[in-house]
Each structure stands twice: as C-alpha cells, then as structure tokens.
Symmetry: C2
Subunit: 506 residues, 2 copies
C-alpha cells in the first residue's frame, strides 16, 4: 500500500478535512450511514468505544451519588408544551408518532392505522417526561436531592447530518437532578461539568475549555448553560458536553413542589447535563492522522493486536502457540479498571494486515515470527509514532511494561492536542486582525482559518450576532479561568471586562 500512495487515508486532512473525516470512519470500520435518513449504524469497533465511555463515565457519575433509571421513549405532546422556550427549541426537529398499527391500504400496501388521540414525540431530551415523575417523587425537602441519570437514545430530526457529530438518532446520557436550594443546584451543575472535563481530558485525551454559554447559545429553557469546548484539527470548536442550571423553570412547568422544614412550599431547583456519541466524533477529529484513526488506550475498543507471521508452515504451530500464550497473559492484566483487550489477527493478506490495524487506530501492533520466539522477544509498533518505527523488546519486559507504554501513548495524545490548541489560540484586540483570523486564506478550502480567538466582548447580543453573520464565528464560551481584564469589544469598541472564546464551530 505504502508504495502506491503517500497515506492510508485519501484525501489527507490538508486536502479535504470533511472528506478525510468520512474516510477515516469508513476505513476504520467504526460506523456507517444507514438507509434510514440521518441515522447511523455503529459497528463493533465504534460501539466498543461507546461501551468504554459508558463504563468510565457511569462510574464517575455514581461516585457523586447519581443513580441510573429509565423513562419512556415517548413524550406526549402536551408535556413538551409545558415549557414555552423548550418546545420552541425542539418543535422544528421532532419525530412524531401518530398511529399504532399498520393495515392494508386501498392500494394493497400497508398504511398507518389506529390514529392516536394525542401525538407522541420521540424524546429529543427528557426534562418534561422526567419532570412528571419528579413531581410525584418529591414532596418534602427530605426527598431532596434527587440525582438521576439515564443512558438512552434520543431523536432530533436534523436537516444536515454528519456521522457521530450530528445524527437524527444518537446515544447519550442525560442527568437530571432536583434540589431544595438554588445554590445546591448551581453547585451540581458545575460538579457535573467538572466530571465531563475530567473525563474528556483523562480518558478521551481531549483538552477542553470550561465556561458558560452566552444567552443565545443556551439550552432552551435553561437559566445558565455551562459547557466544555475542544479544538479539532481543522481548528474548529466542538462542544463536547453541556451542563444546565434550569432554575425553577422546569419545576414550574412540571409542578415539582416540595415542603421546606419550616413548612413553607417551594418549587424545586433542577439541573440537567448531557454528553453523547458526538464525543466519538471529537475523538476522531482530535487525534487521527492521514493514516487513519488513533485511539487513546484508555478508551480503545482493544489496546493490542497480535500479528503472528505464519508464512512458514513448519513454524506456524509454534508461532500460534506463542501468540496465544502471550494473548492469554496480556488479557489477565488490569488497565484502568478493566482487563486489557487483545486481538489476534491470523489473516494471510501480507502488509494489508498491518495497515488495517493502523487505520483502525489500535494503540499497539505486535508482530510475532519464529525469530522473535527464538529470542523470546516481541517486535512492536506504537500508533502514536511513525508506522516504520518498530521496537524489539524482551517478551517478559514487554508484558511488565505494557501498561506504562499505553499510559505514555495516552499522555502523548493529550499533549499533542493541548499543544495544537495552544498554537492556534490567539489573543486578538484589533478588529482587522480578528476579521483576517476568521477569513479563509484559500477560497477552495473555506474551512481553513485561524482557530480560537480570545477577544473582548461587551455583552451585547447584537455584537455577537454581527460577528456570526459576518464571519461565521460564534462565542463558544465565556471561560471560567479567564481573569477580569479591561478592554474594548472586538465588534463595537465599547468597554468590556473579560475575553471570551470566539471560534467557528461544529
């Protein structure tokens, strides 16, 4: 393969980033578009990532006292309408169930029958249906807090879809909590955002910026939306997770009332917070290269593939024995809370075998031939290094050090992403420089631009809207760690007290 083309993925990131993204997914066998409009099929190599994400996040949620539950897929239309901003935000993209049977139509084919009295919406998010339960579960301050999470599928009928990043159906988790005081709900909102940030950085190896959204980017019905934002390799921003302080808006809408210790009655204060299969899109766009996927070891569907060299029929039995014994030993090792996952690939397809696993992004490829056995060695390559860079190592030392090697790969990926973000994040105070930063240098590649601009903003929605209209850049967040600093709005020049993160975004 190497002889015919420069890279395993065509086109390269440089040549056509959006198409490169599709090809990485296709050639790594992560997922595919389905014949159902806007929906995807997540294939085993991709679903393995989701399983690991679920396991790791779920442990982190439970450590904060959250318990899992499950609520109905369908939301009666009347429920969704209870919160005005909320229904406004989702009405344009709802899958609506109107019938509960199929029967032979006049032309012989099946047609919907059994019309429902009230249409049901396939949940785009579950605040209103979970709120109905909360209103029955919560009577007294003694019942609070209620800390619930749901792992589920949701549907938002997106017009333009992109696999993992924006699909009509996606998998996610949605946390929903209710509290006796505003302070406690605000604290929970931030606590879960911190869980998301820790997970993104420690497991996905994606550095993130924590901050709050401006009013125009808030979740429909929320008082405050907090978010984590990451930079992809095309320097665009991806929102990786959001955590919402809902005030008493949804409690009013769903009538979630409780009696205080002093017998006064109040509405509960609620939060909700979510992350989805979109994170897998972020993972791909943060780490992968022109040879395909690169998976962080902690979240990889498998960490190691063993590639026995079986050309010589006299040696094949011996090579397979050595391979199986090594696999068995590696599979006993615990790595960040689960056993190492080891694949064995015995296909006789020459160099294409190794390239398959490069494209699939597996952290370690280990070749095993008769000579390696003679030396009690293994010959391995790391996916975070060049594909020609291979190391021979004593077999037992390899078993002893593999966890350290994997942790090193994990750290390398994080550091690279952090450095890339640093290199492409610029403080800009002049409007001309700002405009130039977000203007593509090459008309045939409209996606290539500067990156994240840290610039002053006066707080006016009009300025935010002007910049969005002119440059297609938006305020990704008002970062929490930005210090107060006097300056002038990059749009209108009026005084401003802090910089915000401007970027083009997915």
């Amino acid at each position: 393969m190497g002889s015919k083309q420069r890279t395993a993925i065509t086109p390269t990131r440089e040549e056509d980033y959006p198409e490169w993204y599709q090809q990485v997914i296709r050639l790594s066998d992560l997922a595919e578009r389905s014949p159902v409009r806007g929906c995807m099929v997540i294939k085993p190599w991709g679903y393995g990532l989701w399983e690991n994400i679920v396991r790791a996040m779920d442990d982190m949620f439970k450590a904060t006292g959250v318990k899992n539950a499950y609520f109905p897929l369908f939301i009666p239309l009347s429920f969704l309408e209870k919160e005005a901003e909320h229904v406004e935000g989702f009405a344009k993209e709802c899958a609506v169930v109107t019938h509960h049977r199929l029967e032979k139509g006049p032309e012989g084919g099946l047609v919907p029958a059994g019309k429902l009295q009230e249409p049901l919406v396939v949940r785009p998010t579950s605040e209103t249906i979970i709120g109905e339960s909360f209103s029955r579960w919560i009577n007294s301050y003694r019942d609070l807090p209620v800390l619930i999470n749901q792992w589920a599928n949701v549907v938002r009928w997106e017009m333009r879809t992109r696999i993992f990043l924006r699909t009509s159906e996606f998998l996610w988790q949605e946390g929903h909590t209710a509290h006796a005081t505003a302070d406690e709900a605000v604290e929970r909102t931030r606590m879960m955002l911190n869980v998301y940030a820790d997970f993104a950085e420690q497991f996905l190896a994606i550095p993130v910026i924590k901050g709050r959204k401006t009013a125009s980017e808030r979740f429909p019905g929320a008082v405050e939306t907090e978010c984590i934002e990451a930079m992809m390799q095309d320097r665009k921003a991806l929102q990786v997770g959001t955590s919402h302080f809902l005030g008493q808006n949804f409690a009013r809408a769903s009538d979630i009332r409780f009696q205080n210790a002093d017998e006064s009655e109040d509405f509960a204060w609620t939060t909700s917070w979510g992350t989805s299969t979109r994170m897998i899109g972020g993972l791909i766009m943060t780490h992968s290269d022109d040879d395909g996927l690169i998976l962080p070891p902690k979240i990889a569907s498998a960490q190691v593939v063993l590639l026995p060299i079986l050309h010589d029929p006299d040696q094949a039995g011996r090579v397979m024995d050595y391979t199986r014994a090594l696999a068995a030993e590696l599979r006993q090792l615990r790595y960040h809370g689960r056993n190492l996952v080891v694949e064995i690939d015995t296909r006789d397809i020459g160099g294409a075998r190794g390239w398959d696993w490069i494209r699939k992004g597996i952290p370690l490829r280990v070749e095993i031939g008769p000579r390696d056995i003679d030396n009690e060695a293994v010959f391995f390559a790391r996916r975070d290094r060049g594909h020609r860079e291979k190391t021979s190592m004593d077999r037992n030392r390899f078993v002893g050090e593999i966890k350290t090697i994997l942790d090193e790969i994990q750290q390398t990926l994080f550091n690279r992403a952090r450095d890339f973000r640093r290199e492409n994040t610029v403080s800009i105070d002049e409007k001309e420089a700002f405009t130039s930063f977000f203007t593509p240098k090459n008309e045939s590649k409209p996606e290539i631009h500067g990156g994240f601009a840290l610039s002053h903003w006066c707080g006016a929605e009009a300025c935010e809207a002007d910049i969005k209209n002119d440059l297609n850049a938006t305020i990704r967040c008002v970062p929490f760690d930005g210090e107060r600093q006097s300056g002038r709005c990059i749009c209108c020049g009026r005084p401003s007290e802090r910089r915000v993160v401007f970027a083009k975004a997915y």
Copy 2:
C-alpha cells in the same frame, strides 16, 4: 407495621396474585406506570437489576465471540414488509412515525407537520434493519460468521399491559448472527439458548425448561423457535428467553448472499435471540413473598444494607464511624465479578426502616448499635429467612463469611423455586384429569390451577387449538430432555411419541 397487618404486602399472593404483584413492585420502588400509555418508568432500585443483568449476560455473550453494535431505532415500512410472516406478526402493534416537525395548528396548539414520504416504524425487533447491514457486510464465506448483539429499547403497542411483563416499550438485547451453513446456525441457536438457561439459573436463580416451540408459537418468520420456560408462584409459565433459527428466510428477504469457497453463491443462514426486562417480572414472581421482593444476591441492586441505631446522641458518632468503616471494608470485596454494593440507611423512622428493606428484598440487613460495637459484632438478618430470625456474629467473621452467606441465599432461592416447580409439575395421561388440572377450583380465583402438565400430544395443530380454547392452556415447549415414550394424545387419543409441557402462561 407488624401489629396492624400480618404481612408487609396486601393482598397476599393467596388472596390476589395479580394485585400482589403490582404491590410488590410499588412498595419495593422498582418501577411505576408512566402517563405514557403502556410504558413504564424503571426506578433506580429496578434499573440496578437491569444493569447487573446486562453486565453478566454481556460477558457471557462476548465469551462466545459475539460483539455489540447499534442499529437505527426506525425501520422504513418497506423493510418490515420484506418478510411476509414477519410483518404480519408485528403490523397490529407498531408505533408509526409519520411526521418530523410540530407547528402551530389552526386552533393555536402544536400539530404534527412535515409529513414523511415513507412512514417509519419504531423497531419492534430488528431483523429487517440489521439484515440490510448484513447484506452489505457479507460477500464471501470469509466474512462469516457475523455475530452481533444489540442492547436497545423496542416498542410493541400492546393492548393489555402489565409492568415488566408486557409493556409497550421495553429494554432488551437482540442477537443476530449469519452463518455459511444451516448446521452452524442451528448450533448457534442452541448455544445462545444454553447461555440464557445458564444465566437464568445461575444469576436469576430461576430454574428453566429448555425446549422448542410448536409451529403456532414460533417467532414470525422463524423456521424454529427455541425457548426457556419458568414456573411462577401462581403456577403459570413465563417465557424467559427465545432463540430462533431463521433458516434462509430473512437472508432471502434482505438479500444476504455470499460466495462459497467453490465460488457458488448461497443465501446466509441466520439466527436471532432475545431476552428483555420481562426477566425482572419473572424474578419478582419466582422469589418474592407476602413481605415483598426477595432478590438473588448475584443480581441484587445492593447486597447489604447497614442500619445504624442512632437513638442515643452520645453514641451516634461512634455508631456511624463503625458503620462507615464496615461499609468501606465490605465495598472492597469482589462478589461474582463486581464489588459488593452496600447501602447505609440513617433515617430515624423506627421499625419502618427495616420493613422498607424487607419489602425491597435486599439479601442482608445489618443492625449496628452501641452494644454490637462493644462486642465487635454485627446483628444481621437474611431475606430468605423469617423477618424475626436474626443472628449476631463477630464482625470480622461476618466480613470473612459474607460471600458464602450470599451464595447460600442464592442457592436457597434456586432450590425453593426448583422444588416448587417439581411439586406442581404432573404427568397426566387421562383427559379428565387434564381438564380438572387446568380448571380453577374456586371461581373467584380463576388464576389458581394445577401447574405444568406433562402430557402426550399427537402434533396436530387442531388439538393444540382445542386445548387452548377449552382450558386456556398452551404448549409451552417440547422439552429437549424429554425421552421418547409411546403414549396417546391427551386431546384426540391418537398415538404420540413424546410428552410436552402444557401450562397457562403469561
């Protein structure tokens, strides 16, 4: 509580079994009916059971080479129609999505808008949508077998619903495999049935009978349906899981073709197999008593609750320290692949606290008071024994022996259920005895009848239908372990070669 009524659940099983079932679920806080027709809310104590079921079964599937994937929630109507028997079987109970937006209607409220060109059915099962993927994934015998499982929600618009047993939406897993030969597919069908049986017996402590369904009870479109059947405490049968050999029916419908080694082309041989949240209904009806739920330790949402006695304010700190230290120590213990889950209940509500946990079915309740601390002891009760039977044990011995105690409880529950089934399973050869067996003795309790009848059946669908019409008893399965034995059909008297299991069923 004990003084006012005999049991924690009213009515008792004897008095009104169906109502007892609802009350056990309500008072153990497992789940509740939702305002969405036929759907349920699975509360944390119930969802914890499902999480443990998923984890244990998933490991068993993966040990047979199966990998997880995810396919779309929506099935285009044209896909469902590809297999004639299949669509016939599901058309009467489908949720149909016909629109993808909501907009203001003439009366001001929101109405469905954006009509879809082709209606989408919310998956009742996924043979046809997964078949479409298989048809693209499979080209050569080298691509086979394909072994896929999906954990998902499905919807069947049931007219009469019963929580966990029959709900419009439920959670399940569906396995789908494709093979190069009929033999291999038949073998996989049986392999997964055996996994189900092992899981039911070893984790749910539910003894099951393995067998095949008669033609009238087959999955729509299957060549053969195999099943596991269990006896509930009202002596009715519950189908706990099914495994289907689909022959080439669905491969033809979805065009899943492959090239053999000899370059001839053939349709693949497929299987599918499923279990669902219905198992939780079976768990409840197998083990629970008139004081509420009884959970098998291996699948319980928590194994132990610690109940510190905090009456004396001078002692409360000391009691809590001892309680927390014990909990921390127990939580380090591994029990069948996961850490022990330990609850601490500090509520000051007197005896109601202990009764709450009895109703919730937790395997072990441990009371901790100042006297226990002085003796370095714990005072515990097992849910498989009478609620007054409590044991004092040296604390360290308890920590050392807890896993053995839990395993004992698990075994006791299995043995009880097995004995109950044995006592209520009768070989019947006379039609009169057969009729009497299935005729309620008391008209006010139509559900009370004999149990499982092992009787001869000639194989005629007419006899099967007659018995169903007359007695509401059906052939649950033709058991695999039944030996060939000459006899006469219990209905028509013609010769028969084996006994089958007749029962009333959920």
